[in-house]
């Protein structure tokens, strides 16, 4: 595999990356996003720098003030001399593939700060709230030396599960107006949130929202069995409640540290990553190098005429590239049952 060798181009970029050249970081992120040849070399080479940064997820419905909250939290981290990298995701259009990335508008105080770096990412087809390469991008930010990496999710209202594995601590931001959403998203929210934020808490309805949350909290302790997600009230535009939020995040972090949940999460993340990579390689092996595409093309007429089924063709392809289909593919069971 190509991930362990280096082309001169990769070597040059890595050398600048190691020197702390922000442009090299930006370019490396582009390689990752585009999954451009050489991107795995980059990730492989920078992987030894990982395991130090804390990853925070910020999610919540549209209009909850995620970007503003992210900015204020990041500014607080900066006051404590922590370097902050932010990955803000917006949706790609499923039709054109284009995207409008507007989260930076609410994070302008960080733009000219050397200790902060914001990258807007388009989801590029991924549906779980993050971008296709959010995790890899976070690795790069961490390897570059950021102490805190914040994932801001798309925030389209539905439960965004990707964030759970991507972040060590996930903050779910709600506003008084999202009272109804709490009812419908109840189960999803409970699984995701390590910390709840009731933002725009100076508005009417904040009390009710907090009560609704409290009523449903405490039913399912998580992360070592005894973590009850706290509820923090903020007015992010005014900077109110940000210290309390930081304290809640810290508390969750040390809780997870002590209970071993953090290590478990990081192990799970590594396992997921390896599984993903294997799947990607197998995919590439089957479709790009193994001739799967040609077999498929030839077999399509047969499926139409009733001479073959999608299941038999799948077996044929898997067998042709040298993988034992009987033990791996659900298609086999189907066939046997049929």
């Amino acid at each position: 595999m190509a991930s362990t060798s280096r082309t001169p181009e990769v070597a040059g970029l890595l050398e600048r990356f190691a020197r702390g050249d922000r442009r090299a970081l930006a370019r490396a992120l582009t390689w990752i996003e585009n999954q451009q040849p050489g991107f795995e070399q980059l990730l492989h080479a920078t992987h030894s720098g990982l395991g130090r940064a804390f990853r925070v997820g910020v999610t919540g419905p549209p209009g909850a003030g995620k970007s503003t909250l992210t900015e204020k939290f990041a500014l607080l981290c900066r006051r404590h001399d922590q370097k902050v990298g932010i990955l803000a995701v917006d949706p790609s259009s499923p039709f054109t593939g284009g995207a409008l990335l507007g989260d930076r508008i609410r994070m302008q105080e960080l733009t000219l700060d050397d200790g902060a770096f914001i990258r807007s990412m388009a989801s590029r087809g991924r549906l779980g709230g993050l971008a296709t390469t959010s995790l890899e991008a976070a690795d790069l930010l961490e390897a570059f030396g950021f102490d805190v990496v914040i994932h801001e999710t798309v925030g389209v209202g539905q439960t965004e599960r990707d964030i759970v594995s991507a972040a060590d601590t996930t903050v779910v931001v709600l506003v008084p107006e999202s009272g109804d959403a709490v009812q419908t998203m109840k189960a999803g929210l409970m699984e995701i949130a390590d910390v709840f934020v009731v933002n725009k808490a100076d508005r009417p309805g904040a009390e009710n929202l907090e009560r609704a949350l409290t009523a449903t909290l405490g039913l399912k302790p998580r992360d070592g069995g005894d973590w009850a997600p706290p509820i923090v009230r903020t007015v992010a535009v005014e900077g109110e409640g940000i210290e309390e939020l930081a304290a809640a995040i810290d508390a969750h972090r040390s809780h997870c540290h002590k209970s071993g949940a953090l290590t478990a999460k990081q192990r799970a993340r590594s396992a997921d990553r390896v599984r993903d990579l294997v799947a990607r390689r197998v995919d590439a092996h089957v479709w790009e190098w193994g001739g799967g595409e040609e077999i498929l093309e030839r077999a399509l007429d047969g499926i139409r005429d009733g001479d073959a089924t999608p299941y038999s063709v799948a077996d044929e392809i898997v067998a042709a590239v040298g993988l034992d289909s009987r033990s791996a593919r659900p298609g086999t069971e189907q066939e046997e049952r049929g």
């Binding site: 181009e9 922000r22 442009r23 090299a24 930006a26 370019r27 790609s92």
Partner: protein
């Protein structure tokens, strides 16, 4: 694995002018043409624009200026881009800019500038052509 190159464009408004109709129409049109558009919003200083462009690793910086301050703002952005080594990034834009000023800015290294009455199709095509001619972004700057 899918290698996918997306054209990334920063659309922003430098200076004090708040007339953002054109910027927003163009931003939406570029998105609809399949590009990833980073919209910076209003009242950006040249320093903020160039730093944002750097972090976002954009191919194109597209600025809308209707205030008449283009002869101050655009050369300043260009200078900062050069200082940052952003030689593979296009600076383009539009607004109330006279032909003479467009030519003068062009000589300094600013790309094509578009006035009122431009169709979004022209802008999309210009950017796509420019990126095609430049070729893929490489590791070295």
């Amino acid at each position: 694995m899918m290698s996918e190159q997306k054209i990334r464009v920063l659309v922003g408004k430098p200076g004090l002018d708040g007339h953002d109709r054109g910027a927003k129409v163009v931003a939406a049109a570029l998105r609809d043409a399949g590009m990833e558009v980073i919209y910076t919003g209003l009242h950006q200083t040249p320093e903020q624009i160039v730093e944002t462009a750097l972090q976002e690793d954009v191919d194109v910086i597209a600025l809308s200026i209707l205030s008449g301050a283009h002869m101050t703002l655009l050369p300043r952005v260009l200078e900062l881009m050069r200082d940052a080594g952003m030689n593979d990034v296009l600076l383009t834009g539009g607004g109330i800019i006279s032909k003479d000023d467009m030519e003068a800015l062009g000589e300094m290294g600013v790309g094509q500038l578009f006035g009122p009455g431009t169709t979004t199709g022209e802008i999309v095509e210009y950017i796509k052509n420019w990126v095609n001619e430049r070729g893929a972004k490489v590791g070295a700057a």
